[in-house]
């Protein structure tokens, strides 16, 4: 398996797709603006800034102001994409996200960059593994974690056209393009990446390709796994989860996020009420120790072998 942080052929940084898509959209629609907190470089918005200098609003290192300004720009008829490191965007400015964006229901697009543990050795202050848990209860924010460059571009296009608050969670870790035929981005809907009958692997963002690898490894053991790309965390595709529970009887969730309150939490909430089946949650149990992204993924089982192990545990539990 490829180490997630490594530069590797066929792996792409989704921020490139985000930046190019936003520039293309801004060319077509003068209402689109970007709002940043001194995060032009980390948001890869240098090109946007060159093309549309007036429409790149840099409020400096001031996240509360940044998110409030986003809401105000929406009031003024603009379509703001507020882009910053996910940790600061969602944690420092959480009350603004709650009150000014979600509760006020403004047409603001929040884009969390370098989410999860992408900042590796910089540690939990810079990790954003809590963002799903913080934003999911703000029920009118659509939360999307694209799995690859194509899905990133599609999610950005959809968000620009959609009237309402959206949080798009991006990484800086290169990921391969998913191999799915006839893809169409459908917000709020799981994407069937691979079908199977013994267990369902539900992943999002940077972990979907790992789930695909794990399904291949399980296949060699005679276990067939369904793989769902659950790009939209909120609202959860309950129909797809119910079908997974009914058809396969066991579920593994995999996310580059905390195991409490995120994708795994959402799936566990739903299944426990409606279709109780074993659910194994792969992710981070809390603040993580110092280490590189690759090491953290290995350490916490966000790897093909780690997912295979979780699948075996889930299958054993359903037979118990």
């Amino acid at each position: 398996m490829a180490a997630p942080g490594a530069k590797q052929e066929g792996f792409y940084d989704c921020r490139d797709a985000w930046a190019k898509t936003l520039e293309d959209l801004a060319q077509q629609d003068p209402r689109i603006v970007a709002v940043v907190n001194d995060s032009v470089g980390s948001s890869k918005l240098g090109g946007f800034q060159k093309k549309f200098p007036d429409r790149l609003i840099n409020v400096g290192i001031a996240e509360q102001n940044m998110v409030g300004v986003g809401a105000g720009l929406a009031n003024g008829g603009r379509i703001p994409f507020v882009s910053a490191a996910a940790c600061f965007l969602t944690a420092r400015a959480l009350e603004q996200v709650k009150a000014d964006v979600a509760y006020a229901n403004f047409n603001v697009k929040l884009v969390g960059q370098s989410s999860g543990v992408a900042y590796g050795e910089l540690g939990p202050t810079h990790h954003s593994i809590e963002d799903f848990a913080w934003l999911r209860p703000l029920s009118n924010i659509t939360v999307v974690a694209p799995a690859d460059s194509w899905e990133t571009a599609e999610a950005i296009k959809w968000a620009a056209a959609h009237e309402g608050p959206v949080y798009i969670r991006l990484s800086r870790m290169p990921v391969p393009d998913l191999q799915v035929v006839d893809r169409k981005f459908r917000p709020g809907k799981a994407e069937l990446v691979r079908d199977g009958g013994d267990v369902t692997l539900i992943a999002c963002g940077t972990t979907v390709h790992l789930a695909v690898d794990a399904a291949g490894a399980l296949q060699r053991e005679g276990i067939t796994a369904r793989v769902l790309n659950m790009a939209t965390i909120n609202p959860l595709d309950e129909t797809a989860v119910a079908a997974a529970a009914d058809d396969t009887g066991a579920i593994v969730t995999i996310e580059e996020a905390g195991i409490r309150g995120g994708l795994g939490g959402a799936v566990a909430e739903f299944t426990s009420s409606h279709v109780p089946v074993p659910v194994e949650r792969v992710g981070f149990p809390g603040f993580v120790p110092t280490g590189s992204v690759d090491w953290l993924f290995q350490q916490f089982g966000l790897t093909s072998p780690g997912i295979v192990d979780a699948a075996r545990r889930a299958i054993v539990r359903k037979r118990a």
Partner: protein, 273 residues
């Protein structure tokens, strides 16, 4: 309209707003009447002497915007929007009742004329700043007014926004500080002092002026845009009296969210004439 006529109109509206707001608080036995009354003359001046808007078209793109950052003073805001024609008077009687559009803090999705949801302090300035930047981007002439409490300025988000507004030279952006010198528990200066407030704003690249926040003519002068507009954002520090207009409420921190009994209500109605 002659200035004297405008001043008289504003005073009449402000009196009506005080009576209505106090009645709403009495009926609901909930609210923040002290802060309502310190802010009412300012808000009445904006809606009936300064701002351009059309209550029948609350989404009009080039309307002037008012943001009530001290969102708890809903008695002042809701009566102003009602007097401005955004909704009928009978809505006021539902104040804080179950499923009312008149929530304890304003919600733009419930009420026409509310520009953004406020309540937690320190939110109005950044949102107002974004509105003003949007106007700057499209070269619109609309003005954006934000009213904050003075204690509210202890929230750091205000100063983040103040820095940006000064740096962007947003001449269409006006902050009014309801300077009643009292916060929920005690005086602002004994809690976390703000003086000299005007100099603080000047240091952030703003124009700043200090007026009597109950002198309608002075408020009109301060808030009316000079010919040719402004090249910096403007901070109007309005010196006010918490509970202004009712003798037993004036300058009493306990009326921040105190509510009247029947006797107090009766006395207030006798004084508010």
């Amino acid at each position: 309209m002659l200035k004297n006529d405008t001043v008289n109109t504003i005073r009449e509206k402000a009196l009506w707003m005080r009576r209505k707001a106090f009645t709403m608080v009495f009926d609901a036995q909930l609210g923040h009447p002290g802060g309502d009354f310190s802010a009412i003359d300012i808000i009445a001046t904006l809606y009936f002497g300064v701002m351009r808007y059309d209550a029948s078209r609350p989404e009009m793109a080039d309307r002037d915007r008012f943001i009530m950052s001290k969102g708890h003073a809903t008695g002042a805001l809701y009566t102003a929007l009602c007097a401005a024609g955004y909704y009928p008077e009978d809505w006021l009687a539902t104040y804080m009742q179950p499923n009312s559009r008149l929530n304890g803090h304003p919600n733009r999705n419930y009420l026409p004329g509310v520009e953004t949801n406020t309540g937690p302090l320190g939110h109005g300035m950044p949102v107002g700043l974004g509105i003003a930047i949007a106007g700057q981007l499209i070269d619109s002439n609309y003005r954006t007014f934000v009213l904050t409490g003075d204690g509210e300025l202890q929230e750091g988000s205000n100063w983040e926004a103040a820095m940006t507004a000064g740096n962007r030279k947003l001449g269409k952006f006006t902050l009014i500080v309801d300077r009643n010198r009292l916060q929920q528990g005690m005086g602002t200066e004994e809690t976390n002092g703000l003086d000299p407030l005007d100099d603080k704003f000047r240091a952030f690249g703003w124009d700043a002026t200090v007026v009597d926040g109950h002198d309608v003519a002075a408020l009109l002068d301060a808030l009316t845009e000079p010919p040719g507009g402004r090249s910096k954002p403007l901070c109007v520090i309005a010196n006010t009296i918490k509970g202004k207009g009712v003798s037993f409420m004036e300058n009493k921190a306990s009326w921040h969210h105190g509510v009247p009994n029947a006797e107090q209500y009766g006395q207030a109605m006798e004084e508010l004439v």
